[in-house]
Symmetry: C2
Subunit: 341 residues, 2 copies
C-alpha cells in the first residue's frame, strides 16, 4: 500500500467479501444490519486505519449548489428532455446544472466525472454510455462519498438510487397492440444484443407473443447496429423474408423511421403490407407519413424524479438508502399500425 494512501470503503468491502453498500451502512450504524456484522466491519475499518473522507464530507457541507449531469448524447431528444426536467427542478431548488456528454464512450465518461468532481459539484446524475462495461469509476465515486443517482442507462449492482423505465412493459404494450391489429408474424428489430434495452424490450415482445400462444421464432429477430445503413439493411432483409411478416416492432423510433423511409422509396405500403411501430415517441415519429405508432417515455418526468430524489437525499429529506424508481410508458397508437386485414 502506498505511503499516505487513504483506505477506502471499497478496500474494506473486498477484504471482508461484502458489498461497499454493507460497509457504508455498517459505518453509519444502520439498524438494517445484524449487530455482529456491524461489529466485524467496524473492527476491520479500525484495523485498516479507515478514515472517513473528510474532504468529501466538508464539500457536502460547503456546497457549491451545482449539480453535474452526464448523458450519452444531448442530440438525442430523449436525453435533452431528461436534462430539461433535471434543470427546471434543480433551478427551482436553487441549484445550477452543468452537463457533460460521454458520446457513448467510457473513456469520455470517466473524463467527465473527473471534470465535474474537480469543479466541486455537490452531486451527480449519470446515464451510462453504451460502451460502459466496467464500473470502477462509479465505485470510486461511491467510496469517495460523492452522492449520485443513475437514470435510464444504469448499472444494477451499484448501491445508489436508480430511475428507469419499464422497458419490458412498453415493448409488451406495443407488441400486444400489433397482435390486436391482427398481426401474427411480427419481426422485432433489436439493437446490439448486449444492450440493456435490447434485452428488456425483447422480453416484453416475447411475453405478448406468448399470451397469444405464439412461440419465439429466432428468424423473426433482426439485429441492427442502429446506424442508417444497418437499419436499411434490415428493411431490405424483411422484404425478402418467407413467409412475409405482417408486423414490425423496431426497438427505437429512428430505426422505424429509416425502415419506413426506405420502404416508401421502394413503393412498399405501410400499414397495408406491414404494420410498423417504434419506441420512444421522438418528435419525428408524429410527423412522418404515415405517423408512427410508438411508446412514449416521459424523459422530462424521469429527469424531474431523479433530481428531486437526489436533492431530497442531499437535503436530508430522504434516506441515503438507495431506492429504485420505475416509470411506466404509454402506448401511442398512430396510423402506421392500423392494418386493415
Amino acid at each position: 500500500m502506498k505511503k499516505g494512501h487513504q483506505v477506502t470503503m471499497k478496500e474494506i468491502a473486498k477484504k471482508l467479501g461484502v458489498s461497499v453498500s454493507t460497509i457504508s451502512r455498517a459505518l453509519k450504524d444502520s439498524p438494517e444490519l445484524h449487530p455482529e456484522t456491524k461489529r466485524k466491519i467496524v473492527e476491520m475499518a479500525k484495523e485498516m486505519n479507515y478514515q472517513p473522507n473528510l474532504l468529501a464530507q466538508s464539500l457536502r457541507i460547503s456546497r457549491t449548489k451545482t449539480l453535474g449531469v452526464i448523458v450519452p448524447e444531448i442530440t438525442s431528444h430523449f436525453f435533452a428532455s431528461c436534462i430539461s426536467g433535471i434543470q427546471d427542478h434543480a433551478n427551482k431548488r436553487g441549484y445550477n446544472v452543468m452537463i457533460c456528454q460521454s458520446n457513448e464512450s467510457i473513456d469520455q465518461e470517466i473524463a467527465n466525472i473527473k471534470t465535474l468532481v474537480a469543479s466541486q459539484v455537490d452531486a451527480l446524475l449519470i446515464s451510462l454510455s453504451r460502451e460502459t462495461n466496467h464500473y470502477e469509476h462509479l465505485y470510486e465515486l461511491y467510496s469517495r462519498e460523492i452522492p449520485f443517482v443513475l437514470f435510464d442507462r444504469v448499472h444494477e449492482e451499484i448501491p445508489v438510487s436508480k430511475v428507469t423505465f419499464n422497458d419490458a412493459g412498453g415493448a409488451y404494450q406495443v407488441t400486444h397492440h400489433l397482435l390486436e391489429m391482427g398481426c401474427r408474424n411480427i419481426v422485432y428489430v433489436s439493437g446490439p444484443e448486449d444492450l440493456y434495452i435490447s434485452k428488456k424490450r425483447k422480453e416484453g415482445y416475447l411475453k405478448a407473443l406468448d399470451e397469444y400462444g405464439i412461440k419465439e421464432n429466432p428468424e423473426l429477430i433482426k439485429i441492427s447496429d442502429l446506424t442508417e445503413e444497418g437499419n436499411i439493411r434490415v428493411a431490405q432483409e424483411i422484404l425478402m423474408m418467407e413467409p412475409k411478416p405482417d408486423g414490425v416492432f423496431c426497438m427505437i423510433d429512428p430505426v422505424a423511421v429509416d425502415v419506413l423511409t426506405y420502404w416508401k422509396s421502394k413503393g412498399v405500403k405501410v400499414p397495408e403490407e406491414f404494420a410498423l411501430a417504434g419506441f420512444t415517441n421522438n418528435p419525428t415519429s408524429a410527423v412522418v407519413e404515415p405517423p408512427l405508432t410508438t411508446v412514449s417515455q416521459p424523459g422530462y418526468e424521469m429527469g424531474k424524479l431523479a433530481v428531486s430524489h437526489l436533492l431530497d437525499q442531499l437535503d436530508g429529506l430522504a434516506s441515503d438508502d438507495p431506492i429504485s424508481i420505475v416509470l411506466d410508458t404509454t402506448l401511442v397508437p398512430r396510423k402506421s399500425s392500423q392494418k386493415t386485414i
Copy 2:
C-alpha cells in the same frame, strides 16, 4: 470607491470615453493604436492604480483544460449540433467541455456564467438567450480577462470573436428559389420582430423580392410568437388572405412544420396551393410529407470553428484581437416548394 476595490479596464474605459477593447489594446502596447492614445490610457491606468487581473492571468497559466459552453436550449437540434462540434474538437485538443443552458432566460445565463467561472473553466463559448438585452455580465467577463467567444446569437459590440451565419443570405436563397418556382405573392412568417434572425431573414427576403421588381407589402409579413398555437393562427390567417398568396417562407422549420400539419388536416395541398419553405434543416423537415424545402445551417461546423479559434487564442496560435467568422448556408430544395404552375 469601495476599500480594496480593484479598478477594471471597464472603469478606465468609462473615464476616458473609449471602448474596453481600446484600453486592452493600449495596455498590451498594440501597434494598432496611436502612440498618443496609448500614452493617455497608460497614464490614466497608473493614476487610477489599475492592477492587471493577476488571478485571471494565473488561471490562464494553471489551466483546468475545461471549457464552458452556454446555449439557450439543448433540446434544439441546431444547438445540440453546435455542442457536438465544440466537444469533438475540444476533446481532440485535450479539453473537456461542460455545458449549461439558459432556457432563454437572462437571469439563468448570468447564473450559468457564475457557475462556470467558479468551476475555473479556461474559457467560454456563449450563445445568448432570446431575453438578453443588456450585456454587463459579458463586459464583466471581458474585463476579468476570461477568454470567450460568442456564436450564433451574438452581441455585435462586445470586442470578442464571433461566429455567425449569413442569415440574410440564406433567406435570400430560399426566397429566390420560391420566385424561380413561379411564386410572386410570397408570405414571410417571422418570429418576434426584435429578434436578430427575424430582422436578418426579412432583409434577405426583401432583397430577393426587390431583384424581381416586387415591392415590400406589409400585409405579406406575418408575425408568430413561435409557439404551436401562434404558428397555427398564422396558418389560418394565410388561408383567409385575399388575394391568395402562392408561396410561404417560414423563418424556422418548426413553424413550417406546424403550418404544414395544420393545412394537411384541413385538406390544403402543398405545394399545389402554396409552395412552402422553412429555414434550419431540422431532421423533421426531411421526413414530413411532402418533405420541406429549407436552408441548411451547419451547426456542427459552427461549433468546430468557434472552439478551434478560441483554443488557438488560448494557445497563442491566433491573435487575441477579435475576429468575425460568417458561415454560409445552403439551400435544400425539396418537394414542398416544387409548385406546378
